[in-house]
Symmetry: C2
Subunit: 413 residues, 2 copies
């Protein structure tokens, strides 16, 4: 633990907000001028420390404090935001990280026992091209160029062209994986973006990993019919089957402590007041930290959808939108994070992360990883009302500094 100054991190967060937010919230969307301006601002902020700056071929920026050993502790997060985003999502981790590095540089007279590197990953949000975790997945070597090079933004600009304007060639993404050389551990501080810590009255949480996700489009096919002339008993109402599934997924998730299942979209066809619904298109998002639980929930939802379709004289088809496996964090790292949080505020609650983070990509590459969460007010994020109490932010920076010290010791041993 160093003599870190959490107030400076908070002041910087506010300065960044002034620079890159408007009346609707933060506008640091990756591969835009505002984002480039934020990164320039950050580079200037880091200039008074003895850090080596470099960018990799995927547009990730690194600030390195070389140590006696090349074995590296990486502290990371992202400066990019969603459109109309909050003042903490992502940039908290980067600006807290800068203060941790400042404290380490001071404590060790610029030469710590292990190398410490701050990462500002590119395009965590995927807000412009719909591909989240872009920079960190290139860093982790999990990125497939083929899947993404055809992406366009809403104005039809190709991802490839937008990246080139920022000095990044998508064909050179695979070279970014070389940046993992000597990487011994990775830690990330982030706002929770959910209501769990607030509901428990806790400022900080220890993140067990990121949940796996199964995301499907589910369509029920019944028979469109006149609402006035079609008796109830002969209807084949696609909405009825979908409604049963919308309720059943709560039981399916409810059988597991941290699992969630969400039907976020329902569309009815023809969708008019005078017609029984002939086709109902829904989406299902299922998440859990345990791959077995996730697979079981998917199986149960499929079975239930077929049962309900049968009961209502309908058919159902599924198509996968996207999925990702759960990424549990490193047990020893989770233990160190638990110690750091307990030493800071007396209680260490462990929780999985529903949202994905750059940490998940780094962990998928086999690097020991842990994350720390700080409470989000009202569980709100991706929104200008996103907020966290300043005393909690101060506790977070302090606890995260403790974690960094513990992990440096662990790497050194």
């Amino acid at each position: 633990m160093t003599s870190v100054d959490p107030r400076r991190a908070i002041a910087n967060l506010k300065e960044l907000r002034e620079l890159t937010a408007d009346g609707n919230g933060a506008q640091r969307v990756a591969w835009t001028d505002t984002w480039l301006r934020a990164r320039e601002w950050f580079r200037a902020k880091a200039a008074d420390l003895p850090l080596e700056h470099h960018a990799d071929t995927a547009g990730n920026h690194f600030y390195t404090l070389p140590g006696a050993s090349p074995a590296t502790l990486m502290i990371g997060s992202h400066l990019d935001s969603v459109p109309n985003g909050g003042w903490l999502d992502g940039c908290l981790g980067v600006l807290a990280g800068l203060e941790i590095l400042r404290g380490i540089a001071l404590q060790y007279n610029g030469r710590p026992p292990v190398t410490v590197r701050l990462a500002d990953f590119a395009d965590e949000e995927g807000a412009r091209f719909g591909r989240s975790l872009l920079g960190s997945s290139a860093f982790a070597g999990t990125h497939s160029i083929a899947a993404d090079r055809q992406r366009k933004d809403k104005d039809g600009v190709a991802m490839e062209d937008a990246l080139r304007l920022c000095g990044v060639e998508i064909d050179r993404f695979p070279e970014a994986a070389a940046g993992r050389a000597n990487l011994a551990a990775y830690i990330e501080l982030h706002i929770e973006q959910g209501p769990v810590l607030e509901s428990l009255g806790l400022p900080l949480g220890v993140v067990l990993g990121t949940k796996g996700v199964e995301r499907h489009a589910i369509t029920f096919h019944g028979q469109e019919a006149h609402s006035g002339s079609t008796p109830m008993r002969v209807r084949r109402d696609a909405l009825a089957a979908a409604a049963k599934l919308a309720l059943e997924i709560r039981s399916i998730a409810g059988a597991h402590p941290d699992a969630v299942c969400t039907m976020g979209s329902v569309k009815t066809f023809p969708g008019i007041v005078t017609a029984v619904v002939g086709r109902c298109e829904t989406t299902l998002d299922q998440r859990d930290l345990d791959a077995g639980v996730l697979a079981a929930m998917l199986h149960q939802a499929r079975d239930a959808s077929e049962r309900f379709a049968g009961e209502e004289g309908c058919t159902v088809d599924w198509s996968r939108i996207w999925n990702i496996e759960p990424v549990p964090f490193h047990p020893a790292m989770v233990g160190m994070c638990e110690d750091a949080v307990r030493e800071t505020c007396g209680t260490a609650h462990r929780l999985p992360s529903g949202p994905l983070h750059d940490a998940a990509e780094v962990a998928r590459a086999g690097v020991p990883v842990v994350m720390m969460f700080v409470q989000s007010l009202g569980g709100m994020s991706h929104n200008k009302v996103e907020d966290t109490r300043e005393e909690h932010l101060e506790l977070a920076v302090g606890a995260f500094d403790r974690l960094a010290s513990k992990v440096m010791d662990w790497i050194e041993r």
Copy 2:
């Protein structure tokens, strides 16, 4: 019962289809050239009978066979169709009516004991301006000009202007009510447009009246939340409350033999795969022939919606889209229709009509009314696949002729 020729009615229906349908179905939308052409064609068809033709100020056309008594039996329906409509909806009643008049004229040497009049009501479908039963409601005196004169079609043409091009001044609509003078009874033959008669294996049905309708927009307000970070137990899921109501309305309707309740439209907001539904907009359409049942079902649905909203931490608001009271037909007329159907095919099944018809407007004016239904294949209508077996059409014209004779006798007595 006269010596009516059902085959001639069927041949005329096919001729009208040739004249006014394209590959997508019938195109006799009211206040269009195709509709005017259909009416001209029909007037020529009627020209070989001793009928007096006149149009009223609402664009309804009448063909009168004057009788010894001015007391009048009216036989009516409509030649207009929805876009891409079927070959029977509306025009069956007009073309069958023409054959009934032909038989009566023949039987009584052109001078029946009571006056018989065929009505081709204008714009039953409301397809162009969204106002159904337009001509018959003017005839019934239930039409309010103020509510409709501002209507425009999808191209922005005002209803008032479109009617003027067809020689109809909307300001003179109220004069159409005078046409009910001496009107003693009204009968209408129509396709069922539903699956009931087919499911019972019956060609014909006796219509008890048109169901009343309560039509509401119901919106549940919950809390939008991240699908990954929001535990199931703290969610305020507007879709869950709506799904409960979508299922509950089936129990509400199921308590009454002919009642129907339909949730035809569900819209979710923000409506994305990664967000718990914060707002869910639904529609509810409820129908029954009994005003007390209809009121009770509305009350039960309101109560249920509030209970479900409460259970899910949501609120709910209702707004009425439209409603109309049930219109039961005349008991003695229903009895005569039952006799005519039983004499024709051995069994007389009574059923309410879910869809509205011109007959409902005439009945609302206090005129004794009944309708007869003929089976619809697959219950399909408002669609080019709408169809009825020709042997059933023949039975229908014969039974309808029996009904006309019975009603003429009843008027005469």
